[in-house]
Assembly symmetry: none
Homo-oligomer: 135 residues x 4
């Protein structure tokens, strides 16, 4: 089953609340299993440049079914996937994108967050992931 809008909004809402608790301003995007956008919000005064980054993080996480940071570890100079970012119209390979799974454990989408440090971005994305565990 693909992710529903209701599930996508649940993930976005949980990530939004986490961002508010942390006092950070985020762009939050959720894509479906086809890597197409389902839901998006940009918090007031969040970095404008993070809009595209959050969507690219979500797409990247679904494109390879792994957290974006895992790809970034391999795409460094000398790494096995150096400059993979040039594919697919532009990837973002630092942390902040995580696959989303349904209750059967199958990946059915991904969330991407951008607007603060990559640690903060990942933590906010993780809140979205947690909101769907068991859904």
């Amino acid at each position: 089953m693909g992710i529903t809008l209701q599930q996508a909004q649940l993930a976005v809402q949980a990530a939004h609340e986490k961002a508010q608790q942390m006092g950070v301003k985020m762009n939050i995007a959720v894509v479906d299993s086809g890597a197409n956008l389902v839901a998006f919000i940009r918090m007031d005064d969040a970095w404008l440049g993070s809009l595209d980054i959050s969507i690219k993080k979500a797409k990247t996480a679904r494109f390879f079914d792994m957290p974006t940071g895992a790809i970034g570890g391999l795409s460094q100079p000398g790494g096995s996937l150096y400059n993979i970012e040039h594919s697919n119209g532009g990837l973002i390979t630092f942390p902040g994108g995580i696959p989303l799974k349904n209750r059967e454990g199958q990946i059915f989408g991904a969330i991407g967050v951008s607007g603060s440090t990559v640690e903060d971005d990942h933590a906010v994305a993780e809140a979205g992931v947690q909101a769907l565990s068991g859904q």
Copy 2:
């Protein structure tokens, strides 16, 4: 003042409810005064191709501060703005995009809707506009 996320979500929510009442499946996008995305949802089973169209309608409405259909009237063969759709990375100039105004009557964003007939798209976008009147 630019549109806030809360206001954008209010417009999206009103448009979403209108679409549900009408029994249509829509992509709904809201952009700010800079024509950058603030909030977006794609309803379950809505046309995938309408994702991009809804965002382009919202951008187009803000780019020229008028409903998208008004531009489409001028972009026809022989019209004064023939093929204006080639600009700005692609415009959509049929109905479904409408500027959003704050309580002072200033345009501070726009909404774009796609997923059904252009009449339905416009009606759903109008519901989003109405939700913000007086905000």
Copy 3:
């Protein structure tokens, strides 16, 4: 269920055989429910420019869950969807793209064919559709 590679190849093969029977040289593309390519062939000496067109036809048919020609009827000057082709990185709205359905009748992909007249293109695509009916 999304279309499998085996099903996509079955559709491509049937379309290929139809094209050979008709004596036309085609590009044949199949996309999945997310409008992403699953299988593609270009027959010897087929028009090179039809490569991109066949893929865009398949994508367009899935983007709106209807034969591409149906969209083309609405995108003409004065039509309700005039210049919709500027969306989604470029649509192709003349005949030759048709949605593919699984045995439950749900759309799970699309086929796009280009290389001859639009009538021929549609006929070859239809052969691919028929090959999957009952699958």
Copy 4:
């Protein structure tokens, strides 16, 4: 002579079988001497992001008539071809793309494979190359 569809499909089929033996899920693309796609398959559940990468690997291998990994060795920081990936709409320069030769030993196309480690990608591409040796 350029590569024929029959030859391209032979290479794709051999690579597909090799991938099945190895238990990996691959995207497999073959381009002709003009670096234009001739045949493509995406195996079930293969990474979606590898679709574009497999095609870019095939193009890159033909663009420079060498295995993609050889270019990657020169495109590193400080290397003679630093960031060559920015050309041609995006190159992929890690292993998985290999030129294809006809029986006279002339390059008449290339194969690109993506979906696993770069070592696996290269091994599967090599199976495609071998299938055409002597053709």
